[in-house]
C-alpha cells in the first residue's frame, strides 16, 4: 500500500505539473492504442471504462479504491477541459489505457490524454443545417478493436478511428426529418454494434438494430412494436402499431453466460392510453434479445397501456446469485420510471417476475397482481383525452434515463430518484404531422406539483430484501444524473441545480465531499486509473430534461431561478496527498 501511495503521489505531482510522466499519445494521434476485444469487454481491467456502465451487467461500479471514504475529503480537480458547446452533456468519459474519449452534444467526440487533459484529436460530425433536436445530446461512444461508434442526432451511426479521429464509415439508419434520431451509446457485442432509436414523441415505431463493426452494414433489426400478425400484435388496435412508439434510446445490458441482451423500451405513443387501446406490447418493457440475430427470446412489460410517458428505456441491472427468499437467482433489478423498484429473474426461457414495490410516492397503481406483477391501474390517475388528470410521479418518473449503480461490496442499488413530484396532464387529440411533435397532450395544462420541501433523493436499496438502507434528501432541486459506485465505498452523483458534484459514503449515506462546478451535472461519473493514480471524471453541462424540469419548477410555488448556467466542461479529480 505504501508503494502504491508513493506511485500515486508521484503521478499526481506529474499531472499537476503538466505531466512529465508517460504520455500515451502524441498530438493528433494515439500511439500504442489497446484494441478493445470481447474478452476485455467481458472482463475489463479495473482502471478502464470501456462500456456505457463499465461492465455488461450495468453495475456502473468501479473496483478502484485508492479514493475512499477516508480520503475523499481531499479530492481536488487535476485538470478540466471545455467542450466548447452548451446543452446537456450526458456521456460518461470512456477510458482505455490512458486515453479518454468524450462525446458531447452536437455530435462531437474528443480524445484526451486521460492523465494530463491534453487534446489528442477532435471529431465533429457535420450537422445538417435543417436538423431539429428535441434532445441535443450524446450518451457516449461504443468501443471495439481500434474503432469508436457514435450514434448521432441526425440518425447516422458513425465509426471513428480511435487513434486518429478519422471517420471510417457512416451509415444512415433512418430519416431525421421524420423525427427519428439517436442519442445513446452503442452497445458492442462480439463485433456487432447495437443501437436503439429515439423519437417516441414523433410517432415512430421503436427498434433495436445491429450493425457490422467493420463495415457499418445493418445485420438485423427487431421492432419493439409488432405487426398485427406477429406475437404481441393483438395488443394493439387498427393501425396504432405503426406509430406506437416504444423507442429504445438507452444502451442495453448483456449476459454473456446466456448470450442475451436486455434492452428497455419507451413510452407508447401518443401519451394518453385511450388513444392507443390495448396493452401495447412491447412498449414500457424490458426485452431479451439474442445479439447474434436479434430474435426476441423473452420480455417483461412493467406497465401496460402506458399513459404517463413513462419510458422504461433504462436497462435493468444484472445481479447474479442474488438471494431471493433463500434461493439464489440471476436477477434483473430496475428502478423504474413508473416509480416501482422491480426485481425480475433471468431464466433459460426468458424473464420471470419476482417482486415490485414503489420507491417514490406513486398513485397511478392501486397495487400489482402478485403472480405476474401486472399493475392494477387507478383510472383516476391515468391520463386520458379531454380531462385534466393528476398523477405521481410526474412524466419524468421516479427515475428517468439516468441510471442507478450497484455495489457488489455493499450489495446496495443507488437510485437517483425524484420523489414528491406530481403532475397534471390533459390529453388532446392531435393529427400526426411527420416531423412535428406528437404528444397527444395539451402542454398548457401540464403542471408540476412539488408536494413538500424536496424532490431529489439519493436512495440506497437492498434489492434482495426490498428494504431501503438510506436516503439523502436534496432541498429544492431535482436529482437528474446517473450514479457511480466504487470499491472505495463511495457513491458519486451530480444532478442538482446548484451545480454540485457529490460523494457519499456508500454504506451510511453520509455526504463526505462536494464541489460546485461550472454548470449542472447530468452525466454519469466514471473512475479510472493511469500510472497508479485513481481519477474520478465527469462532464458538467446542464440542459435538456434537467432544464425542462427546472423551467417547470420555476413556475411553481418554489419559484426557482430557471437560469442554471450552461456550457460543457470535463472535470477530472484525484486525491491530494
Amino acid at each position: 500500500m505504501i508503494g502504491l501511495r508513493q506511485t500515486a503521489k508521484a503521478s499526481l505531482m506529474a499531472a499537476l505539473l503538466g505531466s512529465v510522466g508517460m504520455v500515451p499519445a502524441m498530438a493528433g494521434e494515439v500511439s500504442n492504442y489497446s484494441p478493445v476485444t470481447q474478452q476485455r469487454l467481458e472482463n475489463p481491467e479495473p482502471g478502464n471504462w470501456l462500456l456505457y456502465r463499465r461492465t455488461y451487467d450495468g453495475h456502473e461500479y468501479s473496483p478502484l479504491k485508492q479514493i475512499n471514504t477516508s480520503n475523499v475529503k481531499d479530492l481536488v480537480p487535476v485538470w478540466t477541459f471545455a467542450t466548447g458547446v452548451n446543452e446537456g452533456h450526458e456521456a460518461p468519459p470512456m477510458v482505455n489505457n490512458g486515453v479518454m474519449f468524450v462525446a458531447t452534444p452536437y455530435n462531437q467526440v474528443i480524445a484526451l490524454d486521460a492523465k494530463t487533459g491534453d487534446l489528442i484529436w477532435r471529431y465533429k460530425h457535420p450537422i445538417p443545417e435543417d436538423l431539429f433536436q428535441l434532445h441535443p445530446t450524446s450518451r457516449g461512444v461504443g468501443m471495439w478493436q481500434d474503432k469508436l461508434f457514435l450514434a448521432a442526432t441526425d440518425d447516422h451511426l458513425i465509426a471513428i478511428d480511435a487513434k486518429t479521429g478519422k471517420e471510417l464509415w457512416n451509415t444512415k439508419v433512418q430519416d431525421y426529418k421524420k423525427g427519428q434520431y439517436l442519442t445513446l451509446e452503442p452497445l458492442v457485442v462480439k463485433g456487432k454494434v447495437l443501437i436503439g432509436g429515439s423519437g417516441g414523441e414523433y410517432g415512430v415505431r421503436g427498434y433495436v438494430a445491429a450493425f457490422d463493426a467493420d463495415t457499418g452494414k445493418e445485420l438485423w433489426r427487431t421492432y419493439t412494436v409488432p405487426e398485427p400478425n406477429q406475437p404481441g400484435g393483438n395488443t394493439w388496435q387498427g393501425d396504432a402499431w405503426k406509430t406506437g412508439g416504444g423507442s429504445a434510446w438507452i444502451t442495453g445490458n448483456y449476459d454473456p453466460k446466456r448470450n442475451i441482451v436486455y434492452w428497455g423500451t419507451g413510452n407508447a405513443a401518443p401519451w394518453p392510453g385511450d388513444q392507443h387501446p390495448g396493452d401495447n406490447l412491447f412498449t414500457t418493457s424490458v426485452i431479451a434479445l439474442n445479439p447474434d440475430d436479434g430474435k426476441m427470446v423473452g420480455y417483461h412489460q412493467y406497465h401496460q397501456n402506458d399513459s404517463w410517458d413513462w419510458d422504461e428505456i433504462d436497462a435493468p441491472i444484472l445481479i447474479n446469485n442474488m438471494d431471493d427468499k433463500g434461493q439464489q437467482i440471476d436477477a434483473l433489478v430496475h428502478p423504474a420510471r413508473d416509480g416501482y423498484l422491480w426485481v425480475l429473474k433471468r431464466t433459460p426461457t426468458g424473464i420471470e417476475f419476482v417482486s415490485g414495490k414503489p420507491y417514490v410516492g406513486q398513485n397511478a397503481f392501486k397495487g400489482i397482481e402478485p403472480e405476474t406483477g401486472r399493475p392494477i391501474v387507478d383510472p383516476e390517475h391515468k391520463p386520458t383525452t379531454g380531462k385534466d388528470v393528476s398523477f405521481c410521479p410526474s412524466l419524468w418518473g421516479g427515475k428517468d434515463w439516468p441510471s442507478a449503480s450497484y455495489s457488489p461490496d455493499t450489495k446496495l442499488v443507488y437510485i437517483p430518484a425524484n420523489n414528491n413530484m406530481c403532475e397534471v396532464m390533459r390529453g388532446e387529440k392531435q393529427q400526426l404531422v411527420v416531423g412535428q411533435l406528437w404528444l397527444g397532450a395539451n402542454l398548457d395544462s401540464m403542471k408540476l406539483i412539488p408536494e413538500v420541501d424536496h424532490i431529489g433523493e439519493l436512495q440506497a436499496w437492498d434489492p434482495a430484501t426490498g428494504k431501503q438502507a438510506w436516503v439523502h434528501k436534496f432541498p429544492k432541486t431535482q436529482l437528474f444524473a446517473s450514479t457511480l459506485a466504487t470499491g472505495g465505498d463511495l457513491v458519486f452523483v451530480g444532478g442538482t441545480n446548484d451545480r454540485m458534484f457529490h460523494a457519499f459514503n456508500a454504506k451510511t449515506g453520509d455526504l463526505l465531499w462536494q464541489m460546485k462546478t461550472n454548470s449542472g451535472i447530468m452525466a454519469m461519473p466514471v473512475a479510472y486509473e493511469v500510472d497508479g493514480t485513481e481519477y474520478i471524471a465527469v462532464q458538467s453541462g446542464w440542459g435538456v430534461d434537467a432544464q425542462r424540469i427546472q423551467d417547470m419548477l420555476a413556475k411553481t410555488d418554489w419559484k426557482l431561478d430557471p437560469d442554471v448556467p450552461q456550457g460543457g466542461v470535463v472535470w477530472v479529480f484525484a486525491v491530494k496527498h
Binding site: 466548447g84 458547446v85 452536437y106 435543417d130 388532446e428 392531435q430 411533435l437 404528444l439 402542454l443 423551467d551
Partner: protein, 203 residues
C-alpha cells in the same frame, strides 16, 4: 380544442382556417388550390431557395394543403398556420428545406409595434417557423396572450413585436418575412430579415 387553451399542433390550428375558407365559398377556395404539390422537378434547386420577393404563400398542410393564403384565410387572433412560398408562376414550391417554412398569423395592426407594422399586410404577419433554439417547428399558440410557442423546449415569441423572445431558451427572435397584399393574395415583399434557425455551435 378549447378556446383560451394553448395548442401545439397544427391539425387543431387548421380548423378555424378551414372554417374561414369555407365562408369564402367553394368556388373561391377551389380556384386558390395549387394542383400538384410541386410542379417543379424534385431536384429543382429553386425548391431549396428561401422565399423570394413576389412569391405567394400556400398552406403547408391540413385540408387546404397547397391552397393560396388569401385575405379571408385567417381572422384576427386566430391560430397561425404553417406555409410554404411558391414562385409567381406557381410552378415551384419552395419546400426543399425545412428552413424555408414560414408561419402566418393575423393580428390587429393597432397592437403591433412600428417595426412589425412595416412588415404586415392587412394584419397578416409571416415569420420563419424554425425556432432559433433547436430548430423545431414553432407550432403552438397561446390565444389569450397571442404568443407563439415552441413545443420542444417552451420558447415563446411575441408576433406583435417582431417575434421577440418573451420566454424560454431561444436566443433570438424569429426571422421576419415582410408581406404585401396583391389582389387579395399574400405576397412576399422582402426576403427574410434576420437569421433563420439556431446559431452554429463553434469550437
Amino acid at each position: 380544442m378549447t378556446k383560451g387553451k394553448r395548442t401545439d399542433n397544427m391539425a387543431c390550428c387548421s380548423d378555424p382556417v378551414r372554417r374561414s375558407l369555407l365562408q369564402l365559398g367553394a368556388a373561391a377556395t377551389t380556384a386558390a388550390l395549387l394542383p400538384g404539390r410541386a410542379r417543379a422537378d424534385d431536384e429543382d434547386p429553386r425548391r431549396m431557395e428561401r422565399p423570394q420577393v413576389g412569391d405567394f404563400l400556400v398552406f403547408a398542410g391540413g385540408d387546404q394543403e397547397g391552397a393560396l393564403i388569401i385575405e379571408g384565410a385567417l381572422n384576427v387572433g386566430e391560430e397561425p398556420v404553417l406555409a410554404w412560398a411558391t414562385d409567381p408562376s406557381r410552378k415551384v414550391l419552395r419546400d426543399g428545406s425545412r428552413l424555408n417554412q414560414v408561419l402566418v398569423v393575423r393580428l390587429d395592426p393597432s397592437t403591433m409595434d412600428d417595426e412589425t407594422k412595416s412588415h404586415a399586410a392587412a394584419g397578416f404577419l409571416a415569420y420563419s417557423a424554425i425556432c432559433t433554439h433547436m430548430q423545431c417547428p414553432v407550432t403552438g399558440w397561446i390565444p389569450e396572450k397571442r404568443i407563439l410557442h415552441c413545443p420542444c423546449h417552451q420558447s415563446e415569441y411575441d408576433p406583435s413585436q417582431d417575434a421577440k423572445v418573451v420566454d424560454g431558451p431561444a436566443p433570438r427572435p424569429l426571422a421576419a418575412l415582410p408581406l404585401k397584399m396583391v389582389d387579395g393574395k399574400l405576397q412576399v415583399a422582402e426576403q427574410f430579415i434576420g437569421k433563420i434557425g439556431m446559431n452554429k455551435q463553434t469550437m
